[in-house]
């Protein structure tokens, strides 16, 4: 960046500010709305005149607690399990793809890509019928399975790109040094693969965490409904009151873990993404 002239630097800053505004304005708007008392929702102003934490109280400890907390529990549980399964399967698949020469390698990769570009909305109806027939409707497993179809392809792709740039001679060097196949994998490859696996896990988690279409279509009760879907079921204090503030508050709450994770691990994420991208 040191080679930039003043003009270029100004331009860069301007572009960065524009992008930031574009990305953050909705977030700021939701945050502002979540702090507005019921009477101000229609005020037409951006900032609340009399900010209040009432909406948060309502969803975390008040009347909407049942709806929100159970949804939060579902979201966390389902996303974590889906992520764990996706990462384990993808690690094994990617290891095999990067490391071994076997017939059908390209088929696996292409199929993964095909699955990931298949529009979600077009399979949700058949899935709805199928799930009802076999009893997976409105269960955790009923969401985890379709989430795997979203998270596995991208996990396999990022991880195999990542694995491909690990120098396999390390594994061979370890074997010559006296390691068994398993020891060589564990002591020479796993420590190198960890950042990539970690990045992939984060990406997979976010995909599951943010899903709305499956969440709303394949659940009907608190047994499995995740937060993004539950937001649609919030109601106001009375029939005539809009639940906008509650929804905004809930949206802010579910954004927090994402922001925290990204802020904590941004270095690993960038490293993991660029390593996979540049050398894959």
């Amino acid at each position: 960046m040191s080679g930039l002239s003043t003009r270029q630097r100004v331009l860069w800053v301007a572009v960065a500010v524009l992008v930031l505004l574009y990305a953050l304005f909705p977030v700021a708007s939701i945050l502002a709305t979540s702090l507005k008392p019921a009477g101000e929702l229609q005020s037409g102003r951006f900032l609340p005149q009399n900010p209040t934490l009432g909406a948060y109280e309502q969803i975390l400890v008040g009347g909407a607690q049942d709806l929100f907390l159970s949804a939060l529990r579902n979201s966390i549980g389902i996303s974590l399990i889906a992520t764990a399964i996706a990462v384990i399967l993808a690690t094994l698949a990617a290891y095999a793809i990067a490391r071994l020469d076997f017939p059908g390698k390209r088929v696996v990769l292409t199929a993964a890509l095909g699955v990931s570009i298949f529009p979600v909305i077009s399979i949700v109806t058949p899935l709805f019928n199928l799930w009802r027939n076999i009893g997976l409707y409105d269960t955790w497993a009923g969401l985890i399975i379709p989430y795997l179809s979203l998270t596995l392809p991208i996990s396999i792709w990022t991880l195999s790109a990542f694995f491909r740039q690990i120098p396999w001679e390390l594994e061979q060097a370890a074997q010559v040094d006296g390691a068994t196949t398993w020891q060589a994998f564990r002591r020479a490859i796993v420590p190198l693969a960890a950042p990539g696996v970690f990045t992939t896990a984060l990406i997979a988690f976010f995909i599951a965490w943010n899903d709305f279409v499956y969440g709303i279509s394949l659940t009907s009760t608190e047994a499995a409904r995740p937060v993004p879907a539950a937001l649609a079921f919030f109601t106001g204090a009375s029939q005539f009151e809009e639940p906008t503030a509650f929804i905004s508050a809930a949206a802010v709450v579910v954004t927090i873990p994402v922001v925290v994770l990204v802020v904590l691990f941004q270095r690993q994420i960038v490293a993991g993404l660029t390593q996979g991208a540049v050398k894959g």
Partner: protein
């Protein structure tokens, strides 16, 4: 310590490519054997079969008298230095070197590990870098760490795969002597792969020249230089490489593009009734006629010098020539095999630096016909090869090798004894 014996080793890769086509080679205990050849000739494949990283398609591999074809790498007790060093980036230099010891669980105590790693680090002057990570080291230091990992345990043999090819020229020279010294001192059987003929000539007790998966010749460096079996070996060994020119035999005279050499008994008998041969001679065997004291043995000739390069110690003179179309194809093919650029047909002469020959001169040069090698243009075979002389050279080098090994180990025993006394003295002092 062990001998390594290869019997008709064949390697066919999964895609059916025959990378090694029946190589037989006996590497004696304590010997420094070089595998050399242009890139892609199957050197690495051969080395990786010895160490066990590549399956052997056919043939027998014996280490220390036992067949090991089916053994896993870790059961062969060999140490290998990889081309890119293959250091573990997440471990410190100390842990990298200690890695093989840590894998042999229960064999070495913590103190023993420390003592051995430090001894290896001292040998390689890595003592002050033990706590650093490989990423922060220079190329030469990384190379030494890789060697440290190899010498830290008592491996039966060392295997090197182009260990110096990632270093710059100066460092390469230093590490070359370092490796030679280490091998002499430890007396461990060593197989060293390189495509660099200088490394091959300077390091090895014996050199095996490979071409397209086939062994061409195994001999001492001097044996290869003086008595090559064919065009390929002759062209590969030596720098600058041997000159090849067409030689037409007419009226008992060998006509070269710029000189006419009357056939003597030796040449007459090897040429036989051939009318066209390929003649090879080393650049260093051409002299400036003005500087030759007794020119009676040789042939003087005039040649148009295109370009000269004065290097201080010597002078390179380049002489373009018109090649004979009948051998042009053969020579072009050879040039391609030797990774050449096939630019133009020219002869290089390495003259004494006192020579006054300059660019554009028509110079009076001189060569001794006894130095000329004659090759069959069909089979590429060296017709002038003297089996008797070749055997004598190899016997001499073998004798020299044994003597050098003994000397190095006597010296090592003497200094090692002194060190031990020092250590026990300091231990007593500490107690």
């Amino acid at each position: 310590m062990a001998s390594i014996v290869l019997k008709d080793i064949v390697k066919k890769y999964g895609d059916g490519f025959p990378a090694v086509k029946g190589v037989s080679l006996e590497i004696a205990d304590g010997e420094f054997m070089i595998l050399v050849g242009p890139s892609g000739c199957g050197k690495s494949t051969l080395l990786r079969m010895i160490v066990g990283l590549e399956d052997i398609t056919d043939g027998d591999l014996e280490i220390g008298g036992r067949r090991v074809n089916e053994k896993a790498p870790r059961d062969r007790n060999l140490a290998m230095v990889f081309q890119n060093y293959a250091l573990y980036p997440h471990l410190t230099v100390f842990e990298n070197i200690a890695f093989p010891l840590r894998l042999a669980k229960g064999t070495f105590s913590q103190d023993e590990v420390r003592r051995r790693v430090e001894a290896a680090a001292d040998t390689l002057e890595l003592r002050e870098h033990l706590d650093r990570k490989p990423a922060n080291l220079s190329g030469g230091q990384r190379q030494r760490v890789a060697m440290g990992r190899a010498i830290v345990r008592q491996a039966d043999a060392f295997l090197f795969d182009e260990p110096l090819s990632n270093l710059d020229a100066k460092l390469r020279g230093q590490m070359r002597t370092e490796i030679a010294r280490m091998q002499r001192r430890l007396g461990t059987t060593t197989v060293y792969v390189t495509h660099d003929q200088t490394e091959a000539m300077t390091l090895g007790d014996r050199v095996a020249v490979l071409r397209k998966g086939e062994l061409q010749q195994v001999a001492s460096p001097r044996g290869l230089y003086e008595q090559p079996v064919n065009l390929f070996v002759a062209g590969f060994i030596g720098s600058p490489p041997m000159n090849f020119v067409p030689g037409e035999v007419r009226d008992d005279v060998l006509h070269l593009p710029f000189a006419d050499v009357p056939l003597d008994d030796r040449l007459r008998s090897v040429v036989g009734d051939r009318r066209l041969v390929i003649v090879g001679f080393r650049p260093e065997h051409v002299e400036d006629a003005a500087l030759v004291e007794d020119g009676s043995r040789g042939v003087a000739f005039r040649a148009d010098i295109d370009v000269t390069e004065w290097l201080g110690s010597e002078l390179y003179a380049y002489i373009p020539f018109e090649t004979n179309p009948e051998v042009a194809k053969k020579l072009e093919e050879l040039d391609r095999e030797l990774d050449g650029e096939g630019l133009r047909s020219q002869v290089v002469a390495v003259l004494s630096s006192e020579s006054r020959v300059r660019d554009g001169d028509t110079a009076e040069l001189w060569i001794d016909p006894a130095r000329l090698l004659v090759f069959d243009p069909e089979s590429s075979e060296n017709l002038t090869r003297d089996e008797e002389a070749a055997r004598r050279i190899d016997a001499e080098t073998e004798e020299e090798r044994r003597a050098a090994l003994e000397r190095a180990q006597r010296r090592e025993a003497a200094s090692g004894g002194a060190e031990d006394r020092e250590r026990s003295a300091s231990a007593r002092g500490a107690a």
